[in-house]
Structure formats: C-alpha cells, structure tokens
Amino acid sequence: MTIGSVVERPAFPTKRDEAWRYAPHRTLAELAFGPPVELGANVPVDLDAQIPAIEGPRIVVINGVVDTERSHLGAPTGVHLSTLAEKVGGGSELVAAHIDVHEPADAFVALNLEYGVDGAVVHVAEGLEVDVPIQIVDIEIPDRTQNASCTGVVIHVGSGSSATVVETRLGVGTEFGGSNIRTTVTLDDGATLEHILLQDVPTTQVHLSRIDVTQGADSAYRARSFNLGAAYGRVAYHVRLQGVGAHADLSGLFFGFGEQTLDQQLSVVHAVPDCTSRQSFRGVLDDESTGVFNGGIDVRPGADGTDAVQSNDNLILSNRAEINTQPRLEILADEVACKHGATVGQLDDTALYYMRSRGIPVDDARRLLINGFADQVVDDVGIEAVRTWITQRLGHDIDV
C-alpha cells in the first residue's frame, strides 16, 4: 500500500478494541475525511501568539497542506526540511517507512495513508549535533463540508546525530472537526531525538496522533507529550527497539477539564537484547473528564537483558472525573527487569491546610499543589520556551 492510493479500510474500531475502548465512537464516525483542501494564505491564524517562542526552522501545516508562507524551511547545514508531497512525488527513500505500510493497524491509519499526502519531513544527516529545535506546527480549521484532515510527519535522524523536534497541534474555530496525524520516526544507530508533542486543539475538535518509532542500536528516543486539548485527544506511541542498546524514554502529562477524554496508548516492543525503556505519565483530571493510560511493554523472544519501567500517576480533582489505567506486559525473554506501577490520588488535604496556615488562600494553594504535580513532567523539558508555553497554558486554564 502506498500513500495517496485508495485503500481498503479496516472497519472503524469499536469498544471491543482495547486500544479504542474509551474513544467516542459515534463522534469519530462523524469525521468526514477527504483529500486535503488548500485554504491559501488568507487563513486567519496568529501563529506566533499560539506556539512556543522558538526562533528557527519550522514547517507549518494547515488542514493537511504545508503552508510555505508561514514555514521557515531554511535549516542548519545537514538538516533538511521538506514536504511530504514533494518527497512522495520524488519517490524518496526517506519516506518509504512512512508510506509502505502493508497492513494498516486500524481505519485511521488507512485513512491517513489515503489522504495524508502532505506534511512535514525532517532529515538530519549523520554525525551532527543540531542545537536549534525544529518546529512542526499543525493547524486544523474544520470546514462544514470537510471537517477533518490527515497529515504526515516523517523524522529521520542519521547515525550518531542528535536533534530536537517540537510538534505543536492547534486548531481554529468552534466548528466540529478533527485531525489525524501520523508521525514516522526513524533513528539510525547512535542517533538521539528529543520529540516534544504539544496537543492543544479546541475542545470542539477530535485529535488523533499516532507516532511510529523505529530505533537502531544505541539510539535514544525521548518523547515528551502534553495532551491538553480536544474533546477526544489521543496520543499513541508505537516504539520498536530494533537495535541492541537502544533506549526509549516516553513521558507525558494529560490534563483534562469539562468532558474531555485524553487517551494515551503506548506500545514499546523490545525486539532485541539489552534495550531499556521508560514510560512515565501523569494525569490530572477535573470536572467530568476521562483519562486513559494503556501502556504496553512487549519483550520478544531473545530480547534478554531488557530493562523496562512504566509508571502512571494520576490526580483526580472532581468526583465525576475518571481515570482508566492499564499496564500490559508481555514478556517472552529471560533475564528481564520489568516494573510497572500506577497511582490515583486526590489533592492532599493536609498539604492544603499546611499551605493555608501560611496565609496562602485556598484557591492558590490548590493551584500550587496541582502545578507541583504537573511540573514534575514539565521540568523535564529541556527548552525553556516550551516550558513557558506549557505553564502559561496550564496556569491560564486551571479553574480552582
């Protein structure tokens, strides 16, 4: 199957599919995907006010089409930014892993293969330390006739190189709609990628992210996901540790209000010996929001010496909020160290009292405690502009 071709789609997932159990199936069926429709340069988006304040190269994609006006494709030597449409058209090897998907995992992967014909491509040559973050911005502006779009992201980091990619997903307007973004990451031997994902589309929209990662020997993948927006915000990582000594470190924060459902689906496959993986996600759920953490560790036969740790800690702020957390461990190798743990708690009354006894008003004390919980994920982000973006976003929205 190749991109842009008409594919036979698997049926839409149902509640019986574990990975889609908490998805709003009826809402998903209302998404009308189609070929991308270019909106032109007159799109009313004040981009710089909404994305982290990072100077440097960026690719901006609106409704599945790269907006060259808003993009800054110039990049440091050895870093090549281009569009998926161009690479697919040119038959580039670079995007082969993205488009040669023989058995789409679900209907949304198939839709993405069919309609996600444009998007961002980042290529880092070997032996480079890229110190400027590369930004990818996706914006969904639903239209009444076609309310949903598909787009692709391809990131390839060459042998021994290191890079940082910041992906920000936003939306405009109050119309119902959705975005389906599929990212394919390939790390060659010894490559390092810090991959930050900021999902903050309006709560009138649905957002589906899927990130497929293939790692070579001694490579390191650090994912930091902030799943904040959307009525249904889904972030699904599928990481395959394919080279000996590879390390995957996935962490994230999901922070739900209103009737949001924020869904994290993780699957880390240890295919070869002596790889390490970490999954560490925190959830804060207020109002009637729902959180999902479905974390898989899959240790294949022969992947001896695997070291995998998973944790999911949740803070529930309302008695109508809900968290569904589930570890899935399948271990078919020897001498494996796998640990997992999950916690669910409420704001600590004693801590609130302690802070109030120091004069801090109860609303501020709540805010401090919530931020303190969330900040332990935020502090882990190396780029100050991204940390600022997140704390402003959270500070702005916490309704205490």
Partner: protein
C-alpha cells in the same frame, strides 16, 4: 494579645478540649505541657484553623475573632503555627512557597508585595538564623528533608512570616541535641516585645533552651495548673501523674535552680 476562653473542640462524638482558658500578652512566651492525648496539638490546630473540629468558646487575637476566620485569614491576622509533622509538598519549590506565603499575607493586609530580589535578602537572613544553606530553598517543600531539616524549615518560615503569635507544636520532637540547639536559638532570636509565643512540648528539655515566662499543664482538655518555669522542672521529676488527680501539693519541693544537666 491572645485571649482564649472556655475553648472546646470535638471530633465526631469525642470531645478533646473541654473548656480551655488562656491569656497571652505581647512579648510573653507560654509553654504548654501535658501528657499524650491531653489535647496539646488540638489546641494548636484550633488556633490555626484546621477543618474537622467542632469548636466552641472564644479565641481572639487583639480583639479579632479567630474562630470566624479561615486558616489563611488567621495567618494574615498574625498567627503562625509550627507543625509537629511538617507536610511534604513534592513539586513545590521551597523558595517559591515561602515568597507566595509572605506575599499572600502582605496582600491580605493591603501591603505591597515583595519582589524576588528583596525576598532573597529576607530569606537569607532567615536561613542564617537556622543555619541552612542556599540549596535548602531550591528543594521542594520538606520533600526528602530529615526530621531536623523539617523543623528548621518551620522556624525559617516563622522568621519570614514575622507573626504576632507563634504556636510551636512539639517543635522539639524527633530532634537530636544539635538540631534542638539550632532551633531554640532561632526561636530565641525571634522573641520580641511585640511577639507572643506558645511553645507546646511533651518534655521539659526544650524549655532548658527556650525559657518560658509561664508554664501551663494541660490534662484532659483543660489547663489544670499554671506557674513559672519551675513548674516544668517539677514535671520533669514527677511526670504528669500528679495532675491527673489535680494534686500537685503532695509532690516534694524542688529548688528553683534551673535545669539539671
């Protein structure tokens, strides 16, 4: 300054304070001693405003009714409680917490908030008082602190907040002799003619270092005896058994020469 009259505190159907009377004037240090379960900590929390008690009676600070106030309002009115078990708050930076606390009470009092730089000077002074290093402020509030560090952090907070009334609940519990000395010297440095203190302790040992103007014995939710610091020495020798029967006069006399080593 502090006026407490017929104070009662009940949790569920269990009455803990059964009519406590106490007056503390400006500049005075009062020690409250008592056996376990006598209501010492409950008294401290009743003044600080902890939820969960049914409170009766009167507690006013300079005429203002404390019992009507939320905990943060009491802090703004000048009440500070040093916790027996300071709470760990992971993820909240100690320095930020302190500055937020100070600025919250300043704001509540209609005073100007203090900027980060000026606050650093205030914090520095407080740190010196309890012999703490700068990195202490960079850590999360009490998270991973040793018992002694937590108690020193309480005194540091008190130094920053500059309360009218400090209620120190078993500040000496779990301290070794060096930590006790540091804490006591911090507390002594904060004594002033405008500030009152209530020092709650189970043991007389702390009062060797912080010499109280008055000592009260709390038994079964009431103050059963008040005296000067020699009362504490009597307790050291004889325990609280005498007071359970309200019968001090049978105890032998003890010379008023301060603590024995």
């Amino acid at each position: 300054m502090l006026h407490v009259e017929n104070l009662t505190a009940t949790i569920g159907d269990k009455q803990i304070l059964k009519g406590l009377d106490l007056d503390v004037e400006a500049g005075e240090v009062h020690a409250i001693m008592g056996p376990n379960g006598s209501g010492k900590s409950t008294f401290a929390h009743a003044l600080a405003g902890r939820d969960g008690y049914e409170i009766g009676g009167v507690a006013t600070l300079d005429g203002a009714d404390l019992l009507e106030m939320e905990p943060e309002e009491r802090a703004a009115a000048g009440v500070f409680m040093g916790f027996q078990y300071p709470v760990e708050i992971p993820g909240v930076n100690n320095m930020y917490f302190l500055r937020t606390a100070l600025n919250s009470v300043r704001k509540a009092r209609g005073e100007k908030e203090i900027g980060a730089r000026d606050f650093l000077a205030v914090a520095k002074q407080a740190m010196d008082l309890v012999e703490m290093k700068q990195d202490f402020l960079d850590r999360a509030v009490n998270a991973g602190f040793s018992g002694g560090e937590k108690k020193r952090n309480e005194i540091l907070q008190m130094a920053v907040m500059e309360p009218k009334l400090a209620v120190l609940d078993e500040t000496d519990s779990g301290l070794d002799i060096d930590a006790l000395r540091i804490i006591a010297s911090g507390v002594n440095a904060l004594r002033s003619p405008e500030r009152s203190m209530i020092v709650i302790t189970h043991y007389q040992r702390l009062l060797d270092y912080i010499k109280p103007d008055f000592v009260h014995v709390l038994v079964d939710g009431r103050i059963v005896r008040s005296g000067d610091h020699t009362l504490a020495l009597h307790l050291e020798d004889h325990g609280y058994a005498d007071f359970v029967n309200h019968d001090l006069d049978d105890a032998p006399e003890r010379p008023l020469t301060g603590a024995s080593s």
